[in-house]
Amino acid sequence: MRFYIMDQTGHSTVEFKKDDVDTAMKKFMELTQTEKKIAAVRTGEGQLRKTSAFDPSADEMVFFSPMRGG
């Protein structure tokens, strides 16, 4: 499982081994609950779905800060 976290460097990547679901879930919680980031899971080629729940079967997830008007 791979997390892409948008930041000022373009993005940071955090990778987890397949059997390390607990660590991935902990990081997911940290990003979404502590840092209040929005999570999206890849659901197909060119397709992502916003989610608030951790999906242990996900291959790739993208995280970014909440949206604001510009």
Binding site: E45, Q47, R68
Partner: protein, 141 residues
Amino acid sequence: MPHDGRNLDCDGDILAAMDRMWNAWNGRQATVNARGLDLLLKFLSPVQTREFKETNSFIVVGSHSKRCYRIHHAQYYNVENCEDGICYCFLPSDAGICIPDVMLAQKIMLESDEHAAMLVANARPPLRQPKTPPSAPANAD
């Protein structure tokens, strides 16, 4: 007094130092944009990728309204409603996020939670007339 103890009393030194700072900043920005672009291209559909390479923009379909929006590679008001030409501006709240990252976040929001995006978006009237279907000539007399 310069903070690094060097005496930059010559215009040439100051300009050279500013030039080095500018080049360093530019180099860093280029790297950031390249990384952002990698991420964006990883998550675009084949059609969106082709469109982006040709026009620097791509179309997404809103999850609720099923309206088409064109996301342009631009800093502000870069999301354009394809029907009425109204432009929207919304972006992640972090400062300093590069444009490709902003475009990807906008794609995700519009394709999976359009209402939430439109709730925070600021809107601007179209700069040009939206394309209308061809009609009969006005002076057909």
